[in-house]
């Protein structure tokens, strides 16, 4: 009877843990302008520039997903790894505006706000929203998805917004 009860309790615990999503939260304190890389498979990625020096990364991920981070100096890398099925991991990251970003995804919306560092976005099926961008270098490549850019262009800068299937909407200052 005890064995049966214990087994039932174990199964119940497993069921609860399987249904709940995993939460990832880390804070990083780079010494200078940081370089943040996020490599995801399925899910949204949102990076917002704020007025603090630290980088705070939060993610909600399905149980089939694990998120690993690697820090080498001011280079921070967040990578999702799937175990069996294609679960989702949604990232919300706050960074100093001068942080350079390298975002890789397969499926899911990507949103970057108030960034003045270099920006690189590489995805397959994503709508990309870039707002308040004042970067010398922006490289966005998606196979399908809309790209929305609202920011400034530096005359010596390099800008590439590419979508094989989707709209590219660019808003620039009038002067």
């Amino acid at each position: 009877m005890r064995v049966v009860t214990c087994s039932l309790l174990c199964f119940a615990l497993l069921a609860v843990s399987a249904n709940s999503s995993a939460r990832f939260e880390r804070t990083y304190s780079p010494r200078g302008p940081a370089h943040l890389s996020i490599s995801n498979i399925n899910g949204s990625i949102r990076v917002i520039g704020w007025d603090r020096k630290s980088i705070v990364a939060r993610a909600n991920a399905d149980p089939s997903i694990s998120i690993e981070d690697q820090v080498v100096g001011d280079d921070i890398t967040l990578t999702t790894r799937r175990r069996l099925s294609l679960g989702r991991a949604n990232f919300e990251v706050s960074v100093p505006p001068e942080t350079s970003l390298a975002i890789k995804n397969v499926i899911g919306r990507i949103e970057l706000q108030n960034i003045i560092g270099h920006v690189s976005v590489n995805s397959i099926d994503s709508d990309v929203h870039l707002v308040g961008i004042d970067s010398p270098s922006v490289d966005v490549r998606v196979t399908s998805g809309d790209i929305y850019f609202d920011g400034k262009l530096d005359e010596a800068g390099s800008y590439n917004l590419q979508s094989m299937r989707g709209d590219v909407d660019v808003t620039l200052p009038s002067a």
């Binding site: 399925n42 397969v106 397959i124 196979t143 094989m164």
Partner: protein, 222 residues
């Protein structure tokens, strides 16, 4: 989402014409529904094979029939300019010699201004050193295409071996985006067949090939 709702949207979904919310619903349904996946695969095949069909020139009499039909439906569309032209032809131009001379002088001045402005615009695009710049686009040679296709074939074989083990949503995403790229390549090839010196189509085709390599490399790791 029910099967009939999904199947009504499948054609637009393949064309990339559904809104994001509906797209997510369709993909979730396809992940769990084998019959609807079969319908989707049939559509994809139809689209793929239709692009392989040779183009046929329309019949010579087709455009006159269409034009006559449009004219019958919208007579008022053409009546105003016709009336204006008819009215212009009834005007009586009696000009004196000084008036004719003034008109000719005005015409010469307008043409001169146009020529000067055009020349200034052409000069403004020349680089300061006076040399003419070569176009940045290098014509895509057969060797370039062959190398890219070789790389694509190798990646495709690797991806095909793994595809059956993928999550259905991942497989659908891959197939849909591969279709978009192949569609772009087909269009570029058609354009270049008509005009091999079309720089824009060459650049687009090179881009599409690179995009296909990027897609296959990205999915090869799954």
């Amino acid at each position: 989402m029910l099967c009939n709702e999904c199947q009504e949207l499948i054609s637009e979904y393949i064309d990339g014409a559904v809104e994001l919310g509906e797209q997510v619903k369709v993909e979730r349904h396809l992940a769990d529904c084998e019959p609807c996946r079969a319908v989707r695969d049939d559509f994809l095949q139809i689209v793929h094979f239709s692009h392989q069909l040779p183009e046929h020139a329309p019949a010579t009499a087709l455009w006159p029939r269409i034009r006559a039909g449009v004219a019958e439906l919208q007579p008022r569309l053409w009546s105003r300019p016709i009336r204006w032209w008819a009215g212009l032809r009834t005007l009586n131009f009696n000009l004196s010699v000084p008036q004719i001379a003034a008109g000719a002088a005005a015409l010469v001045i307008v043409i001169s201004i146009g020529v000067i402005v055009t020349q200034r615009e052409n000069r403004s695009f020349q680089p300061i050193d006076g040399k003419v710049q070569q176009a940045d686009v290098v014509p895509l040679s057969n060797v370039d295409v062959q190398q890219l296709e070789k790389r694509i074939n190798s990646l495709s074989r690797s991806v095909e071996e793994r595809k059956n083990s993928w999550d259905p949503e991942l497989r659908t995403t891959f197939e849909r985006n591969l279709y978009y790229i192949d569609q772009s390549l087909t269009e570029c090839r058609h354009q270049l067949k008509d005009n091999p010196a079309d720089d824009v189509s060459q650049e687009l085709m090179l881009n599409a090939y690179r995009e296909k390599v990027r897609l296959l490399e990205g999915f090869e790791k799954f």
